[in-house]
Subunit: 142 residues, 2 copies
């Protein structure tokens, strides 16, 4: 993606039924979930004060849901930093390619489920922030 | 699916890295996850003693991961009952179509993530056990 084609990360409400007999939150491909998953993963047992992430993807979309506990996601879209707290299963954060993301401030027992559009591919990661800025940073208008 | 084409439910180990800085369990489509998801949903805040499920699907595959806490899944494959405890994020239970499934014995805080092959479709549910046996029950050899 080039900076001009890129869209930002955004919070998306899942379809949820919160009921006394148990609650359900759902994301359907093409509706709440804006891509077809090629992989899902679960991040858990993260110690307090241990940030995760700190990279961007060249092609991979991600959709993050905090299904237990809470955490904070910081992301940079090439222009500036943004922040959101994920603290319940009724919302997902769509992070498209070209966004630098960090997860931090995990509560005890926090569980993050991530749907990814692609299988794991080390070459899809941009793990150096200066390189990220060069690839995805906004060029000021002249 | 006809009874003769049907395969049973089975437990599948995810690819996991259990580490002191946090743990990760992953399922890639075509590897641990035997179908492409069309929907994901999260079941949580289920009271103790409140069973969930109690139906089969005609076409939809499901892949269940207990990402926090634990629960028990009972399933009937048309011949007999089976049971598995799901109590950590490193394993998934693949339930193909034509299997009757029930989730029960949720621990406090249990969170179940389900990847489903199809969007929600009420017509895909078989919610009457006698009908299930007629559709998917094994015919004894004569």
């Amino acid at each position: 993606v080039s900076p001009s084609e890129k869209s930002g990360a955004r919070l998306i409400a899942l379809t949820s039924a919160v009921e006394s007999r148990g609650s359900l939150s759902a994301a359907t491909v093409g509706a709440e979930l804006p891509f077809t998953p090629g992989r899902m993963f679960v991040v858990y047992d993260v110690p307090a004060g241990e940030p995760r992430g700190g990279h961007a993807h060249r092609a991979c979309h991600q959709f993050l849901v905090a299904v237990h506990g809470s955490l904070v996601v910081d992301w940079h879209d090439g222009s500036r930093w943004h922040e959101a707290s994920l603290d319940n299963p009724t919302v997902g954060l769509h992070i498209p390619p070209g966004i630098w993301g960090v997860q931090r401030a995990h509560s005890p027992g926090a569980v993050l489920v991530v749907m990814a559009s692609h299988p794991y591919d080390r070459a899809d990661y941009v793990s150096d922030f200066d390189e990220f800025c060069g690839l995805f940073g906004s060029v000021p208008d002249r």
